[in-house]
């Protein structure tokens, strides 16, 4: 009898020790940061990491989330849907993240978000704009950016109203994001009475688009709209210019918001005059002033999605703090009911997880290889 007593006591001790260990380990809250850390789009992954790390450092310095320190877990999907699912599974099963900032390419975010949803992990993407990201009834999938059906309208209207495009060639990269956006822009153009003279897809990873460029020339297009990313946009605009189409305007999207566009195009002389749609520059906001200065002091310009990633970490942290929980469901519920003060201003989300207000505007690249927001039209 006494022996069973000892056994029970030992068991209890072991259990309490195990509990103690796990309670100790829970002093950290893990956030995954997933995106293309390598591959052709790695510059966006770097923007994600820089922004997320800075936000985590700042929140940790102020006491963390419910007293727990944020630890970031990096996940590299290389903008490959298959790899994205593997990363998502690893984050959920091995790293046991509470929330995820990611992914970047919509074609990666969509399959990965299914994994997060099954595991009850909240996810917020700083950059995936395809409508399907939040249109599948997932309760804990959020966006820090707008949607392509909004972006396409802004691009289409700008082409019709400001650029006065008559013959528009619409191209895309056959990817979920690029083609989805090109379709949205095409729909808006058609609605405004401008039927594109050309609608074609390029292959990601290729560099020779001269055949398509010649086709643009044959169609006599005055504006080229490209839905896709900078590794293809750069060579495309260069080859347009090289085939003598100097006056054809080139417009693209929030997939080219990186200095690397200049590299892929072969110099600033080729990107001069390129238009693109992107959310209103968060670096101009009064809320981001201190953070932007801090980035610049460390020698890094917080371009593109850096502040989006920063705001995404802030949002996750606010969700967990507000809900006083580590469950993704609770944080999601809280975020849908409350506004969050982020580095990009105060943000609110609707029941799907989309931002209630999107703020797409048009930017233009200049001859020095920098982009700046154009004056609000209308």
């Amino acid at each position: 009898m006494s022996q069973t007593f000892y056994k029970k006591g030992f068991l209890a001790l072991a259990v309490s020790a195990a509990l103690g260990v796990s309670a100790f380990a829970q002093a950290d809250i893990k956030f995954g940061v997933a995106g293309p850390m390598t591959g052709a789009n790695a510059s966006f992954g770097e923007q994600y990491m820089r922004g997320a790390q800075a936000a985590a450092d700042e929140i940790n310095a102020k006491g963390g989330v419910n007293g727990e320190k944020i630890v970031l877990v990096k996940g590299d999907d290389a903008c490959e849907p298959k790899q994205a699912v593997a990363v998502a599974n690893r984050m959920v099963d091995q790293d046991k993240v509470a929330g995820v900032v990611g992914h970047f390419c919509s074609s990666s975010t969509i399959p990965a978000s299914e994994v997060y949803s099954d595991a009850g992990v909240i996810a917020i993407t700083p950059g995936s704009t395809n409508p399907a990201v939040t249109e599948r009834g997932l309760s804990a999938m959020f966006r820090m950016c707008g949607r392509d059906d909004q972006q396409g309208i802004v691009a289409g209207d700008y082409i019709v109203d400001v650029l006065k495009g008559k013959k528009v060639a619409v191209l895309h990269d056959k990817d979920t994001y690029g083609q989805g956006l090109a379709d949205a822009t095409k729909a808006q153009l058609t609605k405004r009475g401008v039927t594109p003279v050309l609608y074609e897809g390029l292959t990601r990873g290729e560099k020779d688009f001269s055949a398509v460029v010649t086709k643009i020339r044959a169609a006599g297009a005055d504006i080229v709209y490209f839905g896709g990313l900078h590794p293809e946009a750069g060579p495309l605009v260069r080859q347009l210019r090289e085939q003598g189409l100097k006056d054809v305007k080139f417009m693209s999207d929030d997939g080219i918001v990186t200095d690397e566009l200049v590299t892929t195009a072969g110099g600033p002389q080729y990107v001069d005059g390129v238009y693109m749609t992107f959310g209103a520059d968060p670096r101009m906001l009064p809320e981001s002033k201190a953070v932007v200065e801090q980035f610049r002091k460390s020698g890094y310009e917080p371009e593109g999605y850096t502040l989006y990633a920063y705001a995404s970490v802030q949002t996750l942290a606010a969700g967990f703090t507000g809900a006083k929980s580590t469950k993704g469901e609770d944080a999601a519920k809280w975020l849908k009911a409350n506004a969050v003060k982020t580095v990009m201003g105060e943000k609110t989300w609707d029941a799907k997880g989309d931002l209630k207000v999107s703020d797409y505007v048009v930017y233009q690249w200049d001859k020095d290889g920098k982009y700046h927001q154009l004056e609000k039209q209308k």
Partner: protein
């Protein structure tokens, strides 16, 4: 419309001649040891990095004239890439010479992964670029339209065909070429007759890598941008070109490359660019159904 058609032909010819140059690496290695060098696309990728490094170095020493720049870059890139080719053969093929045929295939895939990751770690995952070396273009009016031919493209065509001509001369008329052909026909017999076949195989890898390096320099000049993953797509295309032209045949590689380039270009120009790869691969299937040895390949004769 004539101008447009001609332009598409030229687009395809430039693209195809570059495919052809890379296809030579596949076809020569196959011809001599009967194996596909899956690391060849990565050799091309490495050469693109080397070209950029060499351009930066030459610019650092204040060399600005185009002929000197391009000559220096070509020599540097071809030599160093040739060394890469030699090392790949030493590491991935030679130790496995007498093992099963599939073993070197796997080790080549391993080398390809190593090279990709090596470039990624040492040079960063970012897109790399070189400035435009040869600006300007030739504009020819034809009927209702015009053909725009950049100087870079003209240079590519000339350099690619010159490279091909030099290689053909080497294989046909030099001692090295005779050794290569003998080894290709019958390795055992060649070695009995006093040819150091191991060394010949090394030479073949070096020549293949050198041709890939030529392509690397030309492509880097033309498109100005590349990354550590650049070898994959173009490697697949060049391999296709080699099979199309008849793997093992030197002129076949060049012909296959040009046919592939032109068919891609014309199909996307005249019909739709979405399905250009579908078209080129259907073409490949068709040709292989009717000529399994490829366009210029020799039918396989069972050795007795």
């Amino acid at each position: 419309m004539d101008g447009i058609f001609l332009q598409q032909l030229i687009n395809g010819l430039t693209l195809g001649s570059v495919y052809g140059l890379i296809a030579i690496g596949y076809t020569m290695v196959y011809g001599i040891i009967g194996m596909i060098n899956f690391a060849h696309g990565e050799v091309y990728m490495i050469s693109a990095y080397l070209a950029a490094i060499s351009l930066a170095l030459l610019a650092y020493f204040g060399i600005e004239s185009f002929p000197l720049l391009i000559l220096g870059t070509l020599v540097f890139t071809v030599v160093v890439t040739g060394i890469y080719g030699w090392v790949i053969e030493r590491v991935a093929y030679k130790p496995l010479r007498n093992s099963t045929r599939l073993a070197p295939l796997i080790s080549a895939i391993g080398i390809s992964l190593i090279l990709q990751n090596y470039a990624q770690i040492s040079q960063g995952a970012k897109q790399q670029g070189v400035p435009t070396l040869l600006a300007g273009a030739l504009k020819v009016d034809i009927g209702t339209g015009f053909v725009q031919l950049t100087y870079t493209k003209i240079f590519i065509l000339i350099a690619a065909f010159a490279g091909m001509a030099v290689l053909t001369y080497i294989i046909k008329y030099t001692k090295l070429g005779r050794m290569c052909r003998a080894t290709q026909q019958d390795r055992k017999m060649a070695s009995i007759l006093g040819i150091n076949t191991d060394r010949v195989i090394s030479y073949v890898f070096i020549i293949g890598a050198a041709m890939a390096a030529l392509a690397g320099v030309l492509i880097t000049m033309n498109y100005g941008t590349f990354d550590f993953y650049a070898g994959f797509v173009i490697g697949i295309k060049a391999f296709t070109a080699a099979v199309l032209g008849g793997i093992g045949s030197l002129p076949g590689a060049m012909l296959g490359g040009i046919i592939l380039g032109i068919s891609e270009s014309l199909f996307s120009g005249l019909i739709n660019s979405d399905y250009k790869d579908v078209f080129s691969f259907s073409l490949l299937v068709l040709i292989l159904i009717f000529r399994p040895q490829g366009l210029l390949g020799r039918p396989l004769v069972a050795k007795v």
